[in-house]
Amino acid sequence: MKLPIYLDYAATTPVDPRVAEKMIPYLTANFGNPASRSHSFGWEAESAVEKAREQVADLVGADPKEIIWTSGATESDNLAIKGAAHFYGRDKGKHLITVKTEHKAVLDTMREMERQGYQVTYLDVRENGLIDLEAFKAALTPDTCLASVMLVNNEIGVIQPIAEIGALCREKGVIFHVDAAQAAGKVAIDLKNLPVDLMSFSAHKAYGPKGIGALYVRRKPRVRLEAEMHGGGHERGFRSGTLPTHQIVGMGEAFALAREEMAAENARIAGLRDRLLAGLSGIESAYVNGDLDARIPHNLNVSFAYVEGESLIMAIKDLAVSSGSACTSASLEPSYVLSALGRSDELAHSSIRFSLGRFTTEEEIDHAISLLTQKVAQLRDMSPLWEMAQAGIDLNTVQWAAH
């Protein structure tokens, strides 16, 4: 077994060797610009780009014409939210709805829309991380032009009921955007039947390369966007910029593999996740964050009470895991996602996200369990909070000295 063990697939995945193999010729021999119409170098690149567009569309039940290449899910989220809000906000109204547990790519874009004069509602989630449909319905106003809700949460892996949310949006003529960066290749997505107008995808969360993503833009009924990137009019004017053929080929191949292997892979990973969960259940005062049923099998987010997260990560340095999301783990703030679930801060401080993937093995899971069991016990021996809890003191009644 090779150390450290990678259990951070939600941060990024390795490029599948089968994907890398398909990409390489497009860096060297077939280097043409897909926009070159006057020679075979360009034609060859264009045909590779269009094949990949089909592969991406096929995984999610879309028409290839509905797929726009971007640099990744962050750009897709920006283009979807800004592009649709700028277009529809003029007539419909300047109100947007999103959820407090969204990825920063959505939340920070919403903050920018507020600076531009839009009103944004940030919905709470229930204790299990799922959105309350009644609360969503109540948030819709005649001015609402767009709602954005992620399909799978990056920190806790819960699956939001986007079909139901989309139906509510349709009723009110609200454009519905879904960030599916953590979902593609892990949950079945059929855009033919889902009431979703815009959907963001990323390649590197699904064994493709970093730096490439896509935005689904529905054609029937047609969804309009104002372009945010201007230039040569690539991607039907939605997103200018020379297409990175090798990256696109990689994303296409990664999504094609996901389509073929998703069912078997999910079953295998669910087995590993159950093994991890069973193993960690032996640790006292450990709690799973987020709903366990409406959840992808790849994610387990656990709070170890009375142990601080950063010191735990340091203690289990054989495991590559994250505390909070990768984007916020450099800060000292407890995870905003776990705070939104109503977890007390001290529990939030000790949360670890385990994310499993294609190359995770049973042996690795067993090693993770034994290491965690041992290190959590060690850190608790050193924890004054654990000592007080063992003595029967309710920590909520203690007067802490301010500092």
Binding site: E310, M314, L332, M382, P384, L395
Partner: protein, 131 residues
């Protein structure tokens, strides 16, 4: 977060982890920090008849730097008089452990823990609490 070798050493081999009986007349206990801030430090000193700190123990809930800071001060206070222990400054702790700017608060907490432990000891012995 990359840590200095000294932080890692204290974190992996913490000195003087444990507890004394807090009701012992020779023991001063200081507990500082808050769980909601991500760190709580408990420092205990055992003071001899001559006013010299014979032994020290700590328990810390916190990041690697917080654990290392408290481990370090248990070593530093031993053999010092209570008055000498009060002169230990957070800047010395931060310098010794090469703490990055975002972890300076850990050294501040360790200094506060010494002061709190000494104050508790002095209270038991009817001394005034000023420095």
């Amino acid at each position: 977060m990359s840590y200095s070798a000294k932080v890692i050493d204290h974190y992996e081999n913490p000195r003087n982890v444990g507890s004394f009986d807090k009701d012992d007349a020779d023991v001063g206990t200081g507990m500082v920090g808050q769980p909601t801030c991500g760190d709580v430090m408990k420092l205990q000193i055992k003071v001899g008849k001559d006013g010299i700190i014979e032994d020290a123990r700590f328990k810390t809930y916190g990041c690697g730097s917080a654990i290392a800071s408290s481990s370090l001060v248990t070593e530093w206070v031993k053999g010092k008089t209570v008055e000498e222990a009060m002169t230990i400054r957070n800047t010395q702790i931060a310098e010794e452990l090469a703490l990055p700017p975002v972890k300076i608060h850990c050294s501040v907490l360790a200094e506060d823990a010494i002061k709190a432990a000494v104050a508790d000891y002095r209270k038991k012995h009817g001394e005034n609490q000023g420095e």
